[in-house]
């Protein structure tokens, strides 16, 4: 790479990747994972590395610690404090790993050894890299745990990874990485799977590491919006190439590369903007590209783009770009222009849940897990109901309850006017579901056509008509009929989810439940699927329930929204009302934590600790986490009360605004 693209002073640079290319040779195939990647990280700096999966983000991280997969062929230079990681011998590499650069792995629970207490694992790092012994190591471990926000660190040191919640595990992972006292801290998708309230907290830890300890931080994420706040600079990867990099504020607000823009516009905005989908998917490179890899998906692509690879050019200061057609329109306007609202007339009641409780009994002995407590809902054809809440709040149980997959221990569920447990086989297909895991919800050894036709088979639709209807559903999903004979593992996530939606549609159901349908998908694909779902949900023939932990996705097309917390409905109402004027402190906290592009703000309500199911015993479910808790909250069960158009289960709603201002 031409050296003029590097503008930072070499002296202050810690990590300096230059022209790094990685090709992985596997029997029968070859993957160009990275092509001519260059960027750098200085001490005290937080750099975001963003892009969708397959873009090569993790490969960069692996190259930095010298752990490329076998069969990898790396060229270029991974400079670290003057040395080249790619040329280090085993001993140097052993020194470099951990104390030079330490990775926080993507899936903290998977990355913690399951058979060793987390304390031991931390002490192992301290002993190795900080040369500590016995008591001092234990003491330091405790301090490190406390530093990442683990309460009761002494007890937690004795815990095994499986005993930790996701957020706790991520904190432990961070402490393990910092325990190595690295120059560079690499965080690989540190917030994936975490609830919004936690995401901010975790990201703040990295900012903290850069600010107070002067470490360089490389923050890897597919989600530009969430890391935007903490990054100094961002590097956008697409198909193994750096398409854009520069100061975070600039790149996020005025992205010049069409891909960066597509990425940003694919992220649903909690403020009400609807996503704009970009067709297609990321190509898998077999060799370093000779054209612009984004060209096939790019609206601005010209013949140049399709034949020549754009050079990386400097726009301004740090801002570099690899594109022939840099865009200059501000992004926000572009979004606003696309915003539409669908309104439909409500029809018959298709779902009626009355005071439903669900308890999962443990197999032995007494007790059990109370997943839903007194939930009541009603939904009409043509309506779309959004259900939001953190993981563990009972969202999925609600979906299962509607589908008749779990039985209410109390209360009743009626779909299309008939009790769920009393349905015949054909009647059961009146409600359909779109699942979280698109590929996992398709039977691995059944063809796509088979899977789609399943509800029709149950409804005893004759074979000929079945084929017609399957084809029609497929057409609506804009899929080619040739896909019918394929098996699930041959599908991409986006294709599989379209199949899932087609299956749900094919039987012309009265109700469709979307259970986190996009959470497993990449951002641009997510946008595509959200587009499809919005279209499907606007049908007048059926009602839709859209369940998501991501508030923003719900806002796009739901008519009403329900906020669940620990199995209870804490707030419900028209979507705009709930989002724009939240009543319940929990809803406020959720909305406050949701990332917003281009805005840096703090939530008006901050919950005081991580979600813990044990808190739900008596009184208000949120009592243990609510900053405004009183004794009344702790002792009195809260029920939904009307506040304007919405209803919320909190007696302090009227005084909340004042309380928040005071704090």
């Amino acid at each position: 790479m031409p050296s003029e693209t590097i503008t930072r002073e070499q002296a202050v640079t810690m990590l300096d990747i230059q022209d790094l290319s990685v090709v992985i040779h596997r029997p029968g195939r070859q993957v160009a994972a990275l092509s001519n990647v260059s960027f750098s990280v200085a001490p005290g700096e937080v750099v975001g590395l963003v892009g969708e999966s397959g873009g090569g983000k993790s490969m960069v991280a692996r190259a930095i610690v010298g752990m490329l997969p076998s069969g990898s062929h790396a060229t270029g230079r991974v400079g670290f404090d003057g040395a080249d990681v790619l040329r280090m011998d085993a001993a140097d590499l052993a020194r470099h790993r951990g104390s030079g650069a330490a990775i926080c792995f993507q899936n903290p629970r998977g990355a913690l050894s399951p058979t060793r207490t987390v304390g031991r694992q931390l002490i192992d790092r301290l002993v190795t890299h900080q040369d500590m012994k016995g008591d001092r190591a234990a003491e330091t471990a405790k301090e490190l745990f406390a530093a990442v926000g683990i309460r009761n660190p002494a007890r937690r040191l004795e815990a095994y990874p499986h005993e930790l919640s996701g957020g706790m595990a991520q904190r432990v992972m961070i402490s393990l990485a910092t325990g190595c006292a690295p120059g560079l801290l690499i965080a690989d998708e540190p917030t994936t799977g975490l609830d919004v309230t936690l995401t901010r907290e975790i990201l703040r830890q990295f900012r903290h590491a850069a600010d107070t300890d002067g470490r360089g931080v490389l923050l890897i994420s597919h989600d530009l919006a969430s890391i935007a706040e903490v990054c100094d600079r961002v590097v956008v990867l697409y198909a193994g190439t750096v398409v854009e990099s520069g100061p975070a504020a600039k790149v996020l607000r005025e992205p010049a590369h069409p891909y960066t823009r597509a990425l940003l516009r694919s992220v649903p905005d909690v403020g009400g903007g609807r996503v704009v989908a970009t067709a297609g998917g990321m190509p898998l490179m077999t060799a370093a590209p000779h054209d612009c890899p984004f060209a096939p998906r790019c609206a601005h692509a010209t013949d140049d783009c399709r034949s020549t690879r754009p050079e990386t050019t400097m726009l301004d200061g740090d801002w570099s770009l690899a594109c022939f057609h840099p865009q200059e329109t501000p992004l926000a306007e572009a979004i606003a222009a696309d915003l539409t609202t669908a309104a439909t007339e409500p029809g018959d009641v298709v779902l009626k849940i009355e005071d439903a409780h669900v308890v999962y009994r443990s197999r032995f002995g007494s007790g059990g897990h109370h997943a839903l407590r007194g939930v009541s809902l009603e939904l009409r054809a043509g309506e779309t109901l959004g259900v939001v809440g953190e993981s563990g709040c009972g969202k999925s149980t609600l979906a299962k309850l509607i589908m008749g997959l779990v039985e209410p221990s109390e209360g009743s569920v009626e779909v299309a006017g008939k009790g769920v447990r009393k349905q015949s086989r054909a009647e059961r297909t009146r409600a359909q579901m779109v699942f979280q895991d698109p590929i996992g919800s398709l039977s691995p050894r059944r063809t796509v056509g088979d899977s789609i036709a399943e509800p029709l088979r149950a409804a005893k639709v004759p074979a000929k008509e079945r084929a017609q209807r399957v084809e029609a559903a497929l057409g609506r999903m804009e899929l080619d009929p040739s896909i019918l004979t394929r098996l699930p593992h041959e599908l991409s996530g986006g294709q599989a989810q379209r199949i899932g939606i087609a299956r749900a549609l094919v039987g012309r159901p009265d109700l469709i439940v979307f259970d986190e349908p996009t959470s497993a998908l990449d951002v641009t694909v997510q946008a595509q699927i959200l587009d499809v779902i919005a279209d499907v949900a606007s049908d007048a023939g059926h009602g839709s329930v859209f369940i998501s932990h991501d508030l923003a996705t719900v806002r796009g097309f739901a008519d009403r929204v329900v906020v669940l917390y620990l199995g209870r409905v804490v707030e419900e109402g028209p979507v705009d009302e709930v989002f724009d004027r939240p009543k319940h402190p929990y809803t406020r906290a959720l909305l406050g934590s949701a990332p917003r592009l281009g805005e840096t703000r703090t939530a008006d309500v901050q919950l005081v600790k991580d979600l813990d199911e044990a808190d739900a015993a008596t009184g208000c479910a949120l009592a243990a986490r609510c900053p405004f808790v009183t004794d009344t909250c702790r002792s009195q069960e809260q029920t939904l009360q009307p506040y304007g158009e919405t209803r919320a289960a909190c007696w302090r709603v009227p005084e909340l605004t004042a309380l928040i201002e005071k704090s």
Binding site: A102, I103, N107, S113, P114, T115, T128, E163, C180
Partner: protein, 336 residues
């Protein structure tokens, strides 16, 4: 204690299984063709003689009465009287159990340790020459019938090389071993009888080797696969990426995580080995439990068959219980 409660609950669960085994065996031996009484009487015995003998063993009683008597006896630890020998089954069984357990326990222990060592070694060299060699050799060992392997080892180790004692006993009678448990090596160690220790150990080498070769492959395969899984796990990669030294990685991150799945397989191997040592016992003149049970079966010695099936079944389920406890101990994720 949670673990005690777990063991207690599991022991309770064993009751229906063992009861099932008792009922099944009881019925089975009686449904089989063949008359146990005729096999102890001479050809000149009259029906009256046979009836007298039948009465002596309670075989003239109605079936349900026999069963209740037998069940009643079981609760007091009385397994009945052997039809062949006229001696209480409990005592005979105690004598026969020691030698077999000695053989199987030592062999399976060695096999497990060897499998752990070789399996991890092999996994760390995955797909290199050493790895392939070890695995192929283990598969070879696994593919030879034990009785044939036994004979070959005798031919080589005893007849040709003369390194090992004649396969006609378990300890040199001149070593004057005081029998306590029936397991010679254990007895020799307890009594501190030097010559007996070396003699018992020498007699153990070939039969143990035969069993070890026979059962190593599945254990090795399992350890290697688990070790590879650990080596390729994110957790291990994370530890390696944090630059932990080899020794810490091996001890703290690889070994225990690898062993997590081994106990239940080891239990299965133990159970199978216990049920099929009869072949090895036969070849090595090892007068153990298998020989005794099989002989009982061929002579339709009802109490012997019933007792031996029950004991093997009991040992089997017990070993699985132990395996589960060990598993729980190794794997903190297991709730018991």
């Amino acid at each position: 204690m949670r673990i005690l409660r777990f063991v207690g609950r599991r022991l309770l669960q064993l009751i229906p299984v063992l009861l099932g085994v008792v009922v099944l065996t009881f019925l089975l031996v009686r449904v089989l063709p063949g008359d146990p009484i005729r096999s102890i009487l001479g050809p000149n015995a009259t029906e009256a003689d046979a009836d007298a003998a039948r009465a002596r063993f309670g075989l003239d009683q109605p079936m349900w009465k026999q069963f209740l008597d037998y069940l009643g006896g079981l609760f007091t630890g009385d397994f009945g009287t052997s039809i062949q020998s006229g001696a209480p089954v409990t005592g005979e069984m105690a004598l026969r159990l020691g030698p077999t357990l000695e053989l199987v326990v030592i062999a399976v222990t060695i096999a497990v340790l060897l499998a752990i060592w070789l399996g991890i070694w092999s996994a760390r060299r995955a797909d290199r020459f050493g790895d392939h060699t070890v695995r192929i050799f283990a598969l070879f060992g696994n593919s030879i019938p034990e009785f044939w392997l036994g004979l070959v080892l005798i031919l080589v180790g005893y007849a040709a090389l003369g390194w090992f004692p004649a396969p006609s006993g378990r300890v040199d009678p001149d070593a004057d071993l005081t029998p306590l448990t029936g397991a010679d090596l254990v007895d020799a160690l307890i009594t501190g009888n030097g010559p007996a220790i070396s003699s018992a150990a020498a007699h153990l080498v070939l039969p143990v080797l035969t069993l070890v070769i026979g059962v190593l492959a599945p254990l090795l395969r399992s350890v290697r696969a688990s070790a590879l899984e650990v080596l390729r796990s994110e957790a291990y990669a994370a530890a390696a990426a944090h630059g932990l030294p080899e020794r810490t990685l091996l001890r703290g991150y690889l070994r225990r995580a690898t062993l997590v799945r081994l106990p239940s397989l080891a239990a299965l191997v133990f159970g199978t080995a216990l049920g099929s040592t009869v072949l090895v016992e036969y070849v090595y003149s090892w007068q153990g439990f298998g020989q005794w049970a099989l002989r009982g079966l061929l002579y339709r010695d009802y109490p012997v068959v019933q007792a031996s099936v029950l004991i093997i079944a009991f040992a089997y389920v017990l070993v699985f219980l132990i395996a589960d406890v060990v598993h729980a101990w190794l794997d903190p994720r297991v709730k018991i």
